[in-house]
Amino acid sequence: MIRSAWVIGVAAAAFALAACGERPQVIQYKQGAYQGKPDQKPYANAPFDGNQQKWDNDLRQRNQAQNEYKRIGS
């Protein structure tokens, strides 16, 4: 009786602890860093010569050319 209780206890412990040694199987993805050449800013060259404000304004103004409600002056 004691022997069977001992066997059952060991089996229960083995069952209960079965997953304790489990390691995560999912790969931990790490975002890579860009390995290529550095790029210039779009406003680095003429006619902007590094003036980001002018480039932003010019592009915003040009963007409105795609809005025909503005183009026809309505």
Partner: protein
């Protein structure tokens, strides 16, 4: 700081392929490579819809995530670009991209896959702005000239909008307000439906998707 995006108005696109032609002409794109294309759903059936698709310059781009040589980078303006000198032409980015944007020139007799080519939002690549080298590898750098993508600027019906996302949203909002409909063509409700309403319809019989 501008956040560059494309937006295609399906109510306006007439499938003229002007954007595709403008892109090919602007960047001297070879045969077999289409940085932009027009997709039509229910083609030939009343109610068909077309949109112009290219690289969407994702905020969290899957192509960047899967690239084994980390050749992708994102500019301050939110444009996703890549370094062709690093690209090994493995094609992972093509499988990862939900829009089929990455293209691979096949020049060899045995279908040898070249370095990846994709829409650059007319922003060139990691070479000196407007240099011969940049044009040869990536096409013209219109952003550095103070211009917007050729496809959007050439669009005859102004279905395809390209530029700062905030400005595009304003243009589109005004358009939808004026015509009183069309803001619901794309989006969550179209894809998944609303409570008590069926999700997007399957392609009609006789039409092709």
């Amino acid at each position: 700081m501008a956040r560059m995006k494309f937006l295609c108005d399906a109510e306006r696109c007439i499938e003229c392929n002007g954007c595709v032609t403008a892109c090919k002409q602007e960047h001297d794109i070879p045969w077999g490579v289409n940085r932009r294309r027009v997709v039509t759903i229910n083609d030939g059936v009343p109610g068909e819809r077309s949109i112009s698709v290219a690289c969407m310059h994702c905020s969290d781009a899957p192509c960047m995530a899967v690239c084994p040589v980390d050749c992708f980078y994102k500019t301050e303006e939110g444009v996703v670009l890549h370094d062709k000198d690093l690209c090994i032409g493995c094609g992972y980015c093509f499988y990862a991209c939900p829009f089929g944007a990455p293209q691979f020139p096949q020049t060899g007799a045995f279908g040898v896959r070249g370095k990846m080519d994709k829409c650059t939002f007319c922003a060139g690549g990691p070479e000196a702005n407007n240099s011969e080298e940049e044009f040869r590898k990536y096409g013209r750098n219109r952003l550095a000239e103070g211009k917007l993508p050729a496809c959007a600027e050439m669009c005859s019906t102004k279905a395809l909008l390209g530029g700062d996302g905030d400005v595009l949203a304003d243009i589109y909002r005004q358009r939808v307000t004026v015509r009183g409909r069309g803001g619901d063509v794309w989006g969550w409700a179209t894809a998944y439906g609303q409570p008590g309403q069926a999700p997007a319809q399957a392609p009609a019989k006789g039409g092709k998707s």
